[in-house]
Symmetry: C2
Subunit: 447 residues, 2 copies
């Protein structure tokens, strides 16, 4: 599946090597205006200025992308593949949106062939948008999880997914007992976890649809398989939080429901967290858990404004990634998600810089998924999943990204200039800004 040869890519390169929420941006970002990326057996072998490296790699085949920006593949830390077709469903907030649109749609995924068809569309759409790794909800049906992993495997993608677990407050046709789901999940872990690039996440939907017994059995799975992930929803919507408190009167709050069952750990990723308290942020920081910030979803469902300044504070730093949360999120594009993230921050009087957003979409996401050793930037030895960006993909972006006294379409020569061009692209861009997507150094999508 991956090339055995060594090869190079010449373009502009930008990556994050540290977290620009906590250190000066110039210390966190690397920019090579005319750079060379060397890939061997699907992994990064070298990155630097073309002028410095060209002699060393004089004999390797080089693919050139003049005036294009290459960044690490985007990481989507929360998305639902069975909701692909119900994106942009009208008019509801979380709980009624689930019962009106989501549950009837997910029922279709009992059909393995249907699940394969949608998984294929879903993964192609991710690649079209430059997303190379995602943490994915499948449906309650193990055959849908199999379908997803098969399609991801066929594309050689690093994907994390799991079967949804629900044993109450959902239609009968989507429920299985705690014991039954436990068994199904166990089989799926054995089948898929660490199969080439694939990884498994134990995936109870959320506290409302799991009995305490089910949450306990999830905790048991995490003990039995200490390097699988835990992926669920947390504190998205006010009514949801109230309902959880009603269902679990003995717990100190929503997060404590999960904590009590042993689900709050270093490999736990909680989607949303819009309604989290200060104490809960502190607990997540202490446990080294991660939050998937899903701004287009939070805006579309009217859930509220995520307190990014708490998650990225010095006092309670929580690992944070961006999530599209399709189908409550309204776009597969990390760029459109970035634009919404900026808006949410602005409404909270916070500034999110282009580099901070790029960090969240790449290295931050990799850290949230405990994949920092494999993904997130171009450090030597990492997997060469990357995106070729066109910063001039529409007439208006071309005008906006014109550099003073440079020819049309020219790319930045300094970190300051690329910050500005990238910012405009994050705010205005969409799938058209993704000229190509590479997986382990192999072309997987191009415009």
């Amino acid at each position: 599946m991956q090339s055995q040869t060594i090869k190079g890519f010449r373009a502009s390169f930008l990556d994050a090597i540290a977290d620009p929420f906590y250190a000066p941006e110039s210390d966190c970002m690397r920019y090579f205006a005319d750079g060379l990326l060397v890939v061997e057996q699907g992994k990064v072998k070298d990155l630097g200025d073309y002028a410095k490296l060209q002699t060393k790699y004089a004999d390797i085949p080089i693919t050139s992308y003049p005036d294009r920006l290459i960044v690490s593949g985007f990481i989507d830390t929360h998305i639902h593949f069975p909701q692909t077709e119900m994106i942009a469903s009208y008019g509801e907030q979380l709980l009624t949106w689930l019962s009106t649109y989501t549950f009837p749609t997910e029922r279709k995924f009992a059909d393995r062939n249907y699940a394969l068809e949608i998984a294929s569309i879903f993964l192609d759409e991710l690649l079209r948008n430059g997303t190379t790794t995602a943490l994915v909800f499948t449906s309650v049906f193990p055959q849908s999880t199999d379908a997803f992993f098969e399609e991801a495997h066929r594309r050689n993608l690093r994907m994390i997914a799991g079967k949804v677990m629900m044993d109450r407050h959902a239609p009968e046709f989507l429920q299985a007992t705690a014991a039954y789901s436990y068994q199904e999940t166990k089989q799926l872990i054995k089948k898929w976890h660490h199969r080439d690039r694939l990884l498994y996440a134990v995936t109870p939907r959320f506290a409302i649809t799991s009995t305490p017994e089910q949450l306990t059995s999830v905790g048991q799975l995490l003990t039995e398989f200490p390097d699988v992930y835990l992926h669920t929803h947390l504190s998205e919507n006010v009514q949801e939080v109230e309902f959880v408190e009603e269902l679990f009167p003995d717990r100190a709050g929503y997060l404590d429901v999960y904590d009590h069952a042993g689900l709050v750990g270093e490999r736990s990723i909680f989607a949303h967290g819009v309604q989290l308290t200060d104490q809960e942020f502190a607990r997540l920081a202490e446990a080294k858990s991660a939050i998937a910030f899903c701004p287009t979803s939070n805006l579309f469902l009217g859930s509220g404004l995520f307190k990014i300044e708490k998650a990225k504070s010095k006092e309670t730093p929580v690992k944070l990634g961006l999530g599209t949360d399709v189908g409550a999120g309204t776009s597969f594009s990390i760029l459109r998600t970035a634009s919404a993230a900026y808006q949410v921050a602005q409404l909270r009087s916070q500034k999110l810089s282009a580099f901070q957003i790029l960090f969240l979409a790449t290295l931050g996401g990799a850290r949230a998924l405990c994949l920092e050793d494999k993904l997130g930037n171009f450090e030597i030895g990492k997997e060469a999943d990357f995106v070729v960006m066109d910063l001039h993909s529409t007439p208006i972006m071309s005008l906006r990204n014109q550099l003073p006294n440079q020819r049309n379409g020219a790319i930045a020569s300094t970190l300051e200039e690329i910050s500005d061009q990238l910012f405009a692209t994050l705010i205005m861009g969409d799938d058209r800004a993704i000229a190509a997507t590479y997986i382990m150094g192999e072309l997987a999508h191009k415009v």
Copy 2:
């Protein structure tokens, strides 16, 4: 400039003939799944089911757009043409954004040739996005206003614009005295108002940058030319409102500053109104003034969430249109603006339906601009500015808008189905969803 012949367009047609915020949607919307629009000398001569009209118009040339939706041209009730190139500028809220980015950029528009160049790009971009009429800020320089009107005239567009008036709290190079601006504006009104389709709006930037003397002279212009418009900003941002109250301690509030000068009338359009009080909504309703709701701008600058439920209430109904507010707004697309409007409403626990949004973008906008007799739907005699929409312009929109048991790409046959397809297109769509734009029945843009 316009065809003298009679001609037809066959497609699906949707328009609003009444306000769906105040009456059942089925009473407000017309949908012809297979319709025929007849245009004569640039105006609507007929609209109906193709099957019913085909015999009557058997001899006219017909352009067919199968599976496309034709709607009235979009109306953008607030936009700044000199800010085209500074769209998506980073990091500031209103007042610092103005001084950091806007004022230096607007300075360039003293150069007539530069203004012509940007006006041309700006108008092409509007047409690419299906916007056929806009209420436009130019710059303080009359030559920029001339440039804008010349380019709009060349394209036979119905546009409303005006020169910006400022006599304080702005850089010296952008200020003119009240008397000087009065004279310049008067000359521009005489030159452009009612020249073919063009109309003039007297355009003081906002209360902060106009002395009481200037506001008085604006009121005088409105008295001398009773059918020109008044276009300004109102209550966008908390700090702005506080500053206005400081500058005008004798006034009852921000709106009262304008009211005192005689600027609050039926042809007055106020951009934003995010911070308006209940009393101010009541006064705007009473005066029959209009608000331009600019959601991408309000989110991007973090200004706040417009109280759409107040503007569209039974108690204080205010004429309302959508505005992109480029360059604080982040897109020329009314579709992306629609998506942001839906988000703002959701965050206020309000539902905005597809038809309500379409109304705001068409007939609502026409009413806000007192152009209901000329624009906003396909009633007989109105100007034939319209948009051909592709509801399947991306792979994911194609999947989402697939109808049950229909071939791929099929368009709705019922009002309920078109409501759903339109909703998804408003939420996910962009310029690619605009297959073509017609001005007075003539093709002005196509993909």
